[in-house]
Symmetry: C2
Subunit: 201 residues, 2 copies
């Protein structure tokens, strides 16, 4: 009998991603529900039992970036791209051949600031991740030095498209720009300065 | 028989806040769990049943800012301060007599970026809300024009203290500054330009 090697990455994703997606739907319903206190109490009991079962074995403190045995990174706890983090939409960042990046993401009730609109800080969170993704070079991680976000118009909740690209390198610094847009045009623009630790430029 | 008037604000808070808190614990356990697939499947069934029950009556699209009959605002769906939004810690913003604001908040696994550290975009989200809170005048809402965030050092997950204050008014514009700090010092600083709609300056 042969044993097929299990790909840790695919296995972890297959087991935990559907649960995370269910928790995202629970988050949305928790915000928007108008059911009465008896039903709320019933749901709270279900949620507490779920948390108790999951807590039977926990990694300490936070997920971090875990690696498969063959060195593949799993940044699954990340607040905006994490496959296993229910507060992340999650953002899926696509990379063009020239190193620029883009994403399409659907943002619902959990990401609200002004009524019906995306929280300005969530726009900043998405742009921080997008600009960082394009500034990052393989094996030369870049850290955000400064992020400037300009709000041109309130962004309605719903589908949002984001883009970012590097405009200049200067020693250890990389300058990137990006924006968020939807059917109404460009809503938010950003500039970022990213710094590679000295000696690795 | 007298009937005691029920305070909608307090009632809504008493019914929905404990559920939201339980969902926050579920989020943390979902990220950090290492239980096997059978347990995960069991938990997913509990979560799906909870979401189904809550979905029997939902407000459409998003929470918005709902008001009590006597006009008290409930920004409970807000992504960072919302009492009913499980993705919000929630941030509780305190106001000093001079109009400056501060907060103390515990940030766990759900807010991670680099391993063990706060996501830079979450720092931006907190600072956007803090600076906006101090720039806001009663009955004269101010909208974020520009937010600039400077990252001085990576911020470890855990307890974070934030502060913000207005430094200058200039026509319809209000300039505010703020920072996040912890036991290791000041980690992130921010400046914001807030704009009041014309005619209301």
């Amino acid at each position: 009998m042969e044993e097929r090697p299990v790909d840790e990455f695919d296995y972890g994703r297959a087991v935990y991603e559907p649960l995370t997606q269910s928790v995202r739907q629970l988050i949305d319903a928790t915000i928007r529900t108008e059911v009465g206190e008896d039903t709320v109490a019933k749901v709270q009991a279900l949620v507490d039992e779920g948390a108790r079962l999951l807590s039977e074995r926990l990694v300490p403190e936070s997920f971090g970036v875990q690696y498969t045995r063959d060195g593949r990174g799993m940044p699954w706890g990340n607040a905006i791209i994490g496959l296993r983090n229910p507060i992340a939409p999650p953002l899926v960042i696509e990379r063009n051949r020239d190193g620029s990046v883009w994403c399409d993401v659907e943002l619902g009730a959990a990401y609200e600031g002004p009524p019906g609109c995306l929280h300005g800080g969530i726009s900043a969170l998405i742009l921080d991740q997008l600009l960082g993704a394009t500034a990052h070079r393989p094996a030369q991680p870049a850290f955000t030095g400064t992020l400037t976000v300009r709000y041109q118009r309130p962004t309605r909740l719903g589908r949002v498209h984001g883009e970012a690209r590097v405009v200049r390198h200067d020693g250890v610094k990389t300058y990137a720009v990006g924006h968020l847009e939807n059917g109404e045009g460009i809503m938010v623009v950003a500039e970022g300065v990213f710094v590679r630790p000295a000696g690795r430029a």
